[in-house]
């Protein structure tokens, strides 16, 4: 228990840990943390090292940059290389490898690719440069989709004709369902995503507890939140309950954020299928602009190759995203694939499991509990 001293409230940390230990006993449990933010916090604070050895945490598909397939990056590059286009996106997306290059490399070759903090910045850029076409490459779960939706709504209200969105927005429950449907991985429950839930609330996760009989506890991002979430999961399992619970009630309302949900509803519609890196096509898991906002859809405005590219052979991101292997078990981890030269997406974003382990793994290694592939 010694490392709990670093936590903000070591007394509470020790109490929670004692509770976890008594609930877990000598049994084995495998919990998936859905959100990349949790993965990051778990490695950064060495949470696995202080848990009883029977509790294993596996990482889920909740890093939006990590799940983008290569073909979509190729499509974005094709749009960026269209004459008169400025392609805007979040910083993380610039370094995601496509089949031939990244957006950053396309920029070096002369394409006008710019990093923005917010989709609203992309819209303002369009207003300022009416002679150019400004495309916003959008990624993210329901946390980010409302921001894109409000931006499109503003573009429509202001009649900004040179602005469009290349949507790669995805929804959180279908990939979890796909993971539970795929054979092999035995999970006992989920640490639910904190910020996605501020938008969607608790209801969508009912599918996991009702149909799949997996408890889920939506949790915050502090070490104590995560420990508390794990204790709540164990308590459900020990008491024979299986439901959706909210550890993060200080930010997450049971019904989510109705304005944000309404904005998504107003602007987007579900695609029949969307491809996820490593997980393949998942039905009703991606969002595109609906017919009423089709004029802002970059996929209609520009030639998009739309070619499906298989993941590189060496890359095991799919297995990492499904929780089937841990980052250090990938054959190229830390050798051919590093944050400086990522082969796979999980190494690009700091929320990706591979980058999180690479950056904080040394800390964990010193604590001695995580096996590291010898190299």
């Amino acid at each position: 228990m010694k490392f709990v001293d670093e936590y903000r409230d070591p007394v509470l940390g020790k109490l929670l840990l004692a509770e976890i230990e008594s609930l877990a006993g000598d049994d084995e449990f495998k919990f998936m943390e859905v959100c990349g933010g949790h993965t990051h916090a778990i490695y950064r604070h060495g949470i696995e090292q202080i848990l009883p050895p029977g509790i294993e945490l596996v990482h889920g598909p909740g890093c939006p940059v990590c799940v983008i397939p290569m073909g979509r990056i190729d499509d974005a590059i094709a749009v960026a290389e269209t004459h008169g286009v400025i392609l805007t996106t979040f910083g993380d997306m610039m370094r995601v490898p496509g089949s031939k290059s990244t957006l950053l490399e396309a920029k070096a070759r002369g394409a006008d690719v710019r990093m923005v903090y917010s989709p609203l910045d992309a819209l303002e850029l369009a207003v300022r440069t009416p002679e150019q076409q400004v495309v916003f490459l959008a990624v993210g779960f329901e946390t980010t989709a409302p921001s894109t939706a409000v931006t499109v709504r503003n573009a429509k209200a202001r009649h900004v004709e040179n602005f469009s969105v290349f949507s790669n927005h995805v929804t959180i429950v279908p990939p979890l369902q796909a993971i539970l449907d795929s054979p092999g991985l035995k999970l006992d429950g989920f640490i639910g995503p904190g910020h996605v839930s501020t938008v969607v609330g608790l209801a969508p996760f009912g599918l996991l507890s009702d149909r799949y009989r997996k408890p889920i506890v939506v949790s915050g991002f502090e070490p104590l939140d995560i420990l508390h979430g794990i204790a709540m999961l164990l308590a459900q399992l020990r008491n024979g309950r299986c439901t959706v619970e909210n550890q993060y009630s200080r930010a997450v309302a049971t019904n989510g954020n109705r304005r944000a949900l309404a904005a998504i509803e107003e602007v987007f519609e579900l695609r029949p299928h969307f491809e996820w890196r490593g997980l393949g096509f998942i039905p009703h898991s991606g969002l595109r602009l609906n017919p009423a906002h089709a004029e802002f859809d970059a996929e209609r405005r520009f030639e998009v190759p739309g070619i499906r590219i298989a993941d590189p052979k060496a890359c095991q991101c799919g297995e990492v995203l499904k929780g089937a292997i841990r980052p250090w078990e990938c054959k190229v981890f830390g050798t051919a694939c590093t944050p400086q030269t990522p082969i796979g997406t999980c190494m690009v974003s700091s929320e990706g499991a591979c980058a999180a382990f690479y950056n904080y793994g040394r800390l964990s290694q010193r604590r001695g509990a995580i096996p590291v592939r010898s190299r």
């Binding site: 940059v65 917010s118 989709p119 992309a122 921001s147 501020t198 997450v252 304005r259 929320e351 950056n359």
Partner: protein, 92 residues
């Protein structure tokens, strides 16, 4: 991208724009608050803390929680992209 940054509301701009000026560690920026306020601007006041995600306030959080999260982000320095992008990119 997922974690978000706590920010304090400094000024509410005209209700029609549903924007506010917020501050994170001394850096001020105009953000969209339409996802947490009503059309008449009710639901948010100056001095309150919000959780900010890609330029949008997503929920009102209490001050204590905001300070703790912020402290953590600052302590840990440059590894939070949201925080870095808020501070370094130019508003549109």
């Amino acid at each position: 991208m997922c974690v978000g940054v706590p920010a304090q509301v400094i000024e509410l701009l005209e209700a029609s724009t549903r924007q506010a000026v917020v501050e994170v560690s001394g850096v001020r920026r105009r953000v969209d608050v339409s996802l947490i306020v009503d059309d008449d601007g009710i639901g948010l006041s100056v001095g309150e803390w919000v959780l900010l995600h890609v330029g949008f306030a997503m929920s009102v959080i209490d001050e204590e929680d905001a300070r703790r999260t912020l402290e953590l982000l600052t302590l840990l320095g440059g590894d939070n992209e949201d925080f870095a992008e808020f501070s370094t990119t130019q508003p549109g």
